[in-house]
Symmetry: C2
Subunit: 213 residues, 2 copies
DNA sequence: TTGTGAAAGTTATAACTTTCACATAGTCAA
DNA sequence: TTGACTATGTGAAAGTTATAACTTTCACAA
């Protein structure tokens, strides 16, 4: 598989995740063949960019027919690195953390919440589904022993910096930050993505205010 | 306020929301003056693009000094339309819906969850903080009587299409979709933004797999 | 086996975005 | 009052991305 990785922008990758969702929806309703036009109608992009994005990674389509949903699912998962189950841990088992751990999208993408951590004695020892909740004091030990590469952060914002600064960046490679603290995208070789649930609503607010298309 | 709205891209607007978060953080730690370099170090962008973005909407900075945090907060909120409180309703009062309604980011952005709706008899009549939970059967009546423009959707994916299709698009202007169903960005004049909590983790997965910077 | 139609893959170009570098102007200290 | 300093605002250039239009190839039917 020789992808032209060096030329691929993050915008392309983001769109691939959209295509994947569209294919999942189509698959689940029994479709076996999907055209770039079909995908475009679901996710609101133009067919040409969908074809171009997919062609960057190889010719997966059947000319004159479209894309086979199973094949496309496999290839998209493969490109994104989602074909293998990956263990992640959750830090912060409050309302948001709980909702995240139960969110079906993580399961679809093969992410497995192997453990959760909190500082609330009432939560420690409990669980979220099959995910046990441990004391935050055991966090770094757990990361080291289990070589945890990906962390989902859903603690109060005030606690975020302290936790991130103490992570062992030789082991942890990715952080998904749901707090209101902002971290730069790259910190000591760790990828950090900040997610603000309200962000999209702020964008909608602007669009509504200015009557944009 | 004559902004050059027609020329502003969504990418700019998304960055403005980042700047706003950076300014909030700086303000809360007592800073009164912030340079484009300061902001760049927090959010991982280049100072030049920050200056350019802000200059699109007017000259808010003080040459040789930087940007006054209070003024910048005001202007950013004003540009995005966040200076006034806006009522939104939540559809789906499960784990995710509850977490969303309690998420501090919505309060910061002046969004007020005025009501929630669910079909679970055990939840109806209850509340999330100060937000009462009503039966989903009353949804459209409530939207009409209270002229609700913005909706946050956090129901199971299978229920999403049915709800969206029945919304009165003469009243509702914006939908924040947290389900795994995908809707195009524009539907009958309604702005729809799909949020997949797992999306950013999928992007991180790709970055990790390919050792990108 | 061959012809037709349909949609993938590809290319060239226009449109847009980012970046650099510098002139500008405000601040502060002497 | 003056001069040095600093970071903004801006214009031009470079770089990037999306789009339309085009070519290719596959599948199916006659």
């Amino acid at each position: 598989m020789d992808f032209h990785y060096d030329k691929i922008s993050e915008a392309v990758i983001r769109r691939l995740t959209d295509y994947l969702r569209c294919v999942r929806i189509a698959s689940s309703s029994g479709e076996t063949l999907l055209t770039s036009k079909d995908i475009s109608e679901t996710c609101g992009l133009k067919p040409s960019i969908i074809r171009k994005d997919l062609a960057l990674f190889g010719a997966y389509g059947i000319k004159g027919q479209g894309y086979n949903t199973n094949e496309l699912t496999y290839h998209l998962n493969n490109i994104l690195g989602l074909n293998n189950i990956k263990d992640v841990i959750l830090i912060g088992a409050g309302h948001l953390g709980t909702a995240i751990a139960r969110y079906p999208g993580f399961i679809n993408a093969n992410f497995n919440f192997i453990a959760a951590f909190d500082n609330d004695p009432e939560k420690i020892g409990g669980n979220i589904g099959h995910t046990n909740i441990y004391s935050i004091k055991e966090l770094n030990k757990y990361i080291k022993e289990n070589q945890i590469e990906i962390i989902v952060l859903a603690v109060p914002s005030s606690a975020a910096s302290g936790i991130v600064e103490n992570l062992d960046s030789n082991i942890v490679k990715g952080i998904l930050n749901f707090t209101s603290m902002v971290f730069p995208g790259r910190m000591n070789d760790m990828y950090v993505h900040n997610i603000d649930l309200a962000k999209e609503l702020e964008v909608i607010s602007y669009c509504m205010k200015n009557c944009l298309t």
